[in-house]
Amino acid sequence: MQKGISVKKLINDPQSVVAESVEGFGLAHADVVEIRTDPLYVLRVGGAVTGKVGLVSGGGSGHEPLHAGFVGHGMLDAAVPGAVFTSPTPDQIAPALIAADGGAGVVAIVKNYTGDVLNFETAAELAEAEGTQVRSVIVNDDVAVEDSLYTAGRRGVAGTVAVEKIAGAAAARGADLDAVVAVAEKVIANVRTMGVALSACTVPHAGRPSFDLTDDEIEIGIGIHGEPGRHRIAAAPADAITEMLLTPVVDDLALASGEKVLLLVNGMGGTPLSELYIVYRQARSLLEARGVEVSRSLVGNYVTSLEMQGASVTVLRLDDELTTLWDAPVHTAALRW
């Protein structure tokens, strides 16, 4: 087997990974979340805030701290974890939607994968039947998936953090359902991401790495489910790789000189923070060379793919509204200011 891959894990039974991990998470962060089991979901401590639009997200596990790490004040009201890399089921999602409803309706933030979209769709129907108004937004920031005519459409990846943070801030300051959906859609329209993998990851139940990569190969255009990327190239210096990631992002956004952006360098889980800052340094310098101002930054492991080594570069075009909402207070397990 190739290097860069470990099949060893700090787990007990592969079947109970999600339940045990979420339980530990709930114990460690009892100041911001409470855990509901059977069905399993994570709720903001104290439950829905009366009169506030609720925000719910979810998806397969393995991307921690996404989504549970973003439940709390000023971001999500509930998160629904599926099995590792497997979208949760409607009977988990629907109760979370209902629990997050403070009477002003709920926005479901769904990453664009067939499974997530279908399961959230059904869940929304179930919740609506119980009297909870649900609106969904679909995050699809991954520019690696080029032509949506020939694919299931762009994937939702690291840009999800920006959607959750900004929509969460809008809801916290009292925006109504339409307004929260509108600002979420605005983020989605202005955020793009591209990722690289230096190694694969190992899904607990699979017991072997998600793809095979030799010592001098890397995958460009990966998603966050350990899937192979669009193409494989020879290993290259960080500066060159960063340019390969940033260029399609900037081009797709058609960023012009003078614009301001949020630059998010996201680790896939197994890459040292120090390397993320090397990528950040180069991405920032390339943006500045185009006259783009990096007015906000985030560097760290936010939307991961288990222990995969690699990173993604996300750019969000900012205006005053989005900047103010980004800066608004947030208090969750993984994001706080």
Partner: protein, 214 residues
């Protein structure tokens, strides 16, 4: 020979057994062009179905009762793309099988409803490298066999063979739906996991029908 609720129970249990036996194979297929969970998802779902069957107080009175239980259980335990797709397929199939016994035409109607459910949910056309590429030839073969007056077992056996061939034939297809579509050209050369599990489901139907038929 017709097929009743007893058969539907046998079929379901044999499907669960097939998912256990082929769990690793389906994981491996999904690892190649997806995210490596399809075998685990189907295994988890059908294990839950068997648990539900074991706990049944009353024996089901129609084929549709069994299929509805399978539908709701898969829907709430499988997750991913396969959960809603199989869930809807079984739900639609259940609706047209709320009867004691299925003859050849009844089996055809059941398979047609299943395929319809998958297409309604997933909006895939044939040739997009999905489970639709197992179900479409299966339904066509079933229709042809029934037209020739085949027994339910013969209909299902024809459908199973066609589904297996359909699944194999996904190898040369370029994926344009589901997770494999992200790979673009790199999806070619690999068999679709959902089409493979679909063929297992239909083969289990045929095998148990043959047993009932004696």
């Amino acid at each position: 020979m017709t097929l009743g609720p007893e058969w539907a129970l046998d079929w379901t249990r044999l499907t669960a057994q097939a998912m256990t036996e082929h769990r690793a194979e389906l994981i491996e297929l999904d690892r190649q062009i997806g995210d490596g969970d399809h075998g685990e998802n189907m295994f988890r779902g059908f294990s839950a179905v068997v648990a539900k069957l074991d706990a049944l107080a009353e024996p089901p009175t129609t084929v549709g009762d069994v299929l509805k239980l399978v539908a709701t259980t898969l829907m709430s335990t499988v997750g991913g793309a396969a959960g809603p797709l199989y869930g809807t397929a079984y739900l639609r199939a259940a609706k047209v099988t709320m009867v004691d016994d299925l003859d050849g035409a009844g089996v055809v109607a059941m398979l047609e409803a299943g395929l319809e459910g998958i297409v309604v949910r997933g909006k895939a056309n044939p040739g997009e490298k999905t489970m639709v590429d197992a179900w479409t030839p299966a339904v066509a073969a079933a229709v042809a066999a029934a037209r020739d007056g085949a027994t339910p077992t013969e209909v299902l056996t024809a459908a199973a063979g066609a589904a297996e061939q359909g699944a194999k034939d996904t190898k040369d297809l370029l994926a344009t739906k589901g997770r494999a579509s992200y790979l673009g050209e790199r999806s070619i050369g690999h068999i679709d996991p959902g089409a493979t599990s679909s063929a297992l489901v239909i083969r289990a139907a045929a095998e148990t029908a043959a047993r009932v038929a004696g």
